[in-house]
């Protein structure tokens, strides 16, 4: 899994993000280095406010880093013009934390999916073919396109909306998927389905996944490499087994202790 011969898709070198100036200066991401190889799943684990989402947005190119460089497929990332951004976003896509605020409430589900087809150059395809593509994407996430057409995203449940997000990714087939706490806002049953679909994307489409979560148990379950983030820094990182079975850093140990275990007494004193 952790094979150095594999192509490095995305790497972050000394990435730092600072919000505000003077007294309100906040270092959200502090000198982060990250290598992402083709086909692997990495997890970034940390508590709220540790800078996970900011890092994800920097990797996605939604906000600019204050310092440092991002390399994409071995070259320095260029996302200055709209065209360059479009090109970059053909390769990297995201699933956001809150499905209820992820969609424009004025756009129908059809247009959300059509946007994806258009982005992959399918603007001139015949209508029947577009419908076939959308139907396929919906059936991948166990949704029925016939029932969704002409509906608005807010008419769906949270789990359904998150699945719609995955259907987007399925249509776009990016090389890298950034999943920013995709399961934290939905119930436990839907969570397993969503995770299963993400794994399916990796296995069937060969997608590389950056999985961001506060749940270290979940990270262990899905990822090859785990990075532990505290106050904007990576305090520990490496293969999932190493980090989670043999944690070195106190923060990692604390995070591990915070995971409730069935059949074991939960020591709340350290929480």
């Amino acid at each position: 899994m952790n094979n150095n011969k594999q192509e490095i898709y995305l790497s972050a070198r000394n990435v730092t993000k600072i919000f505000g100036m003077g007294n309100t200066r906040t270092v959200a991401v502090d000198d982060v280095n990250l290598n992402l190889r083709k086909g692997e799943v990495i997890s970034i684990v940390g508590e709220s406010g540790s800078g996970k989402t900011t890092l994800a947005k920097i990797l996605l190119g939604l906000i600019n880093e204050t310092e440092g460089e991002i390399y994409f497929q071995g070259e320095k990332r260029k996302i200055r013009t709209q065209g360059q951004k479009r090109e970059y976003w053909r390769n990297i896509q995201a699933i956001f934390q809150d499905p209820f605020s992820s969609f424009n409430i004025f756009n129908k589900i059809d247009s959300v999916l059509l946007d994806c087809i258009n982005m992959r150059g399918g603007r001139r395809l015949p209508k029947a073919e577009k419908v076939a593509m959308m139907t396929e994407a919906c059936s991948f996430v166990n949704l029925k396109f016939e029932e969704l057409t002409n509906k608005y995203p807010f008419e769906l449940s949270g789990g359904q909306q998150q699945r719609l997000m995955i259907a987007r990714v399925f249509l776009l087939k990016p090389k890298i998927l950034v999943a920013d706490e995709p399961t934290s806002m939905i119930d436990a049953c839907s969570r397993a389905t969503i995770l299963d679909m993400l794994m399916q994307l990796r296995d069937e489409e060969g997608m590389t996944v950056i999985f961001i979560t506060h749940d270290i148990g979940l990270a262990y379950y899905v990822s090859d490499n785990v990075y532990i983030m505290e106050h904007g820094r990576f305090v520990e990182g490496g293969p999932a087994e190493d980090v989670i079975i043999h944690p070195q850093h106190d923060y990692t140990k604390r995070l591990l202790n915070d995971v409730p275990k069935i059949y074991e007494e939960w020591d709340l004193s350290t929480v």
Binding site: K57, L60, W89, A94, N104, F106, M119
Partner: protein, 417 residues
């Protein structure tokens, strides 16, 4: 959409405001169809004719069928109407001088006053301290009062075109009546005429129409500028935001009304059309819309749905138009309504100062106020020349503010009671 409309029309404040505004709009549309006169046509020779039904006197005397009605108190009413307040005061003055106690004289009670007068008045009596001229005045007053009581017919005479002599053509008894419906020329002036002799109601309706148009154009210009600047500066950010906010802050500290006065003055009376004024009002009042829109956009631009739209490869233009604008549309509609009403007020303010549209073409509510003020309608107690105008301005702005508050309650559930 239908749900939103239903919610809006469930808000009492909005509905009241909406119906007032709809009534004003309907009046403005329907009235000119019923009374197609040009609003600035001068119909009265003289200033400030009071409100009422104007029956053509010539037509009423000649050519209209005449009826004889014997009505009990017709005589009393006639005398009461003809005996002016000045005459009554003069009668009281003589009676007091002749020794009648002042407390016994009630100048409001016409019959009692006349009875006392005829019982006491003696043309030969020389009261101490009264000049000859004064005595003659009272004798003439007595004569005219006698005339009032006369029940003789009035003779109507016309010149004979052949002999040039005046010949009696008709007589008019005190009991003669005409039916107003049969008089060919009757003009109802519900609000009388103004200082130029123009029908105030017709003028008012036309002025309301023009003022609404001015408000609409001003509101449209202001909202458009404010919206575009707010969207661009809020979404793009960076130095673009800095430049736009610098300009906006400049306009914020300069009172817009002073700016409006200066621009209006420099354009010159001859070049000031109603729509030029409207545009100028719009150009000076976009500031608060721009600031408000900007802050709304800043709170929207980092939302996930905007990020998703970016990730879907949409252009900035598309994102602003489709992902930002719909979310602030309700706010923009509210701002637009407020801008219309403040545009109407700004026009009225400018016109009162004499800096409004030039006066020869169209009336506006502000111009009507200006005319009424210059011709001192307020000092002369000619309320009909200015009060309806104030009422129209107040009703328009009231209805718009009410609609705005109603919309605010619908869009901000926290404000609901």
């Amino acid at each position: 959409m239908t749900y939103l409309l239903r919610e809006i029309f469930r808000s009492g404040k909005f509905v009241v405001g909406f119906w007032i505004f709809a009534a004003i709009l309907l009046t403005v549309v329907i009235y000119p169809l019923l009374v197609p006169d040009p609003p600035l046509a001068i119909i009265g020779r003289g200033t400030f004719f009071p409100p009422g039904i104007y029956v053509n006197g010539y037509d009423a005397v000649s050519g209209t069928p005449r009826y004889t009605l014997n009505i009990r108190d017709a005589e009393d009413k006639r005398i009461e109407g003809k005996l002016t307040a000045d005459d009554r005061a003069a009668m009281q003055e003589w009676l007091v001088a002749a020794g009648t106690p002042e407390a016994e004289i009630n100048i409001e009670d016409t019959q009692a006053l006349l009875d006392t007068w005829f019982a006491t008045f003696d043309p030969a009596l020389r009261l101490p301290g009264m000049t000859n001229a004064q005595r003659n005045y009272f004798i003439r007053l007595n004569g005219s009062i006698q005339n009032l009581l006369s029940t003789d017919d009035i003779i109507i005479a016309a010149e004979n075109p052949e002999s040039g002599e005046m010949e009696e053509i008709d007589t008019l008894p005190p009991s003669a009546y005409v039916n107003v419906n049969q008089v060919p020329n009757v003009r109802v002036l519900p609000l009388g005429t103004d200082n130029f002799g123009r029908d105030v109601l017709t003028e008012l309706v036309a002025a309301t129409r023009i003022s609404l148009q001015i408000g609409f154009v001003a509101g449209f210009v202001a909202t458009l500028i404010g919206l575009v600047l707010g969207l661009v500066s809020g979404y793009v950010g960076g130095w673009v935001d800095d430049v736009i906010m610098f300009i906006t802050n400049l306009f914020t500290v300069i009172p817009s009304f002073v700016l409006l006065i200066l621009i209006s003055f420099s354009i010159g009376q001859e070049n000031r059309g109603a729509f030029l004024i409207a545009t100028v009002i719009g150009l000076t009042s976009w500031v608060w819309t721009a600031r408000a829109v900007r802050s709304q956009v800043i709170s929207l631009r980092n939302r996930d749905h905007v990020n998703l739209s970016k990730l879907s490869g949409h252009s900035i233009f598309h994102i602003i138009l489709r992902d930002i604008l719909p979310y602030i549309a309700s706010y923009v509609v509210m701002a637009f309504i407020l801008q219309i009403s403040s545009g109407i007020l700004a026009e009225a303010g400018l016109s009162i100062l004499g800096l409004g549209p030039r006066t020869t073409e169209v009336p506006t509510l502000g111009l009507m106020m200006n005319w009424a003020m210059i011709y001192q309608a307020h000092i002369l107690n000619k309320w009909w020349a200015y009060f309806p105008v104030i009422l129209a301005i107040a009703l328009i702005t009231f209805s718009m503010n009410l609609m705005n508050t109603g919309l605010d309650q619908v869009f901000n559930p926290a404000l609901r009671e």
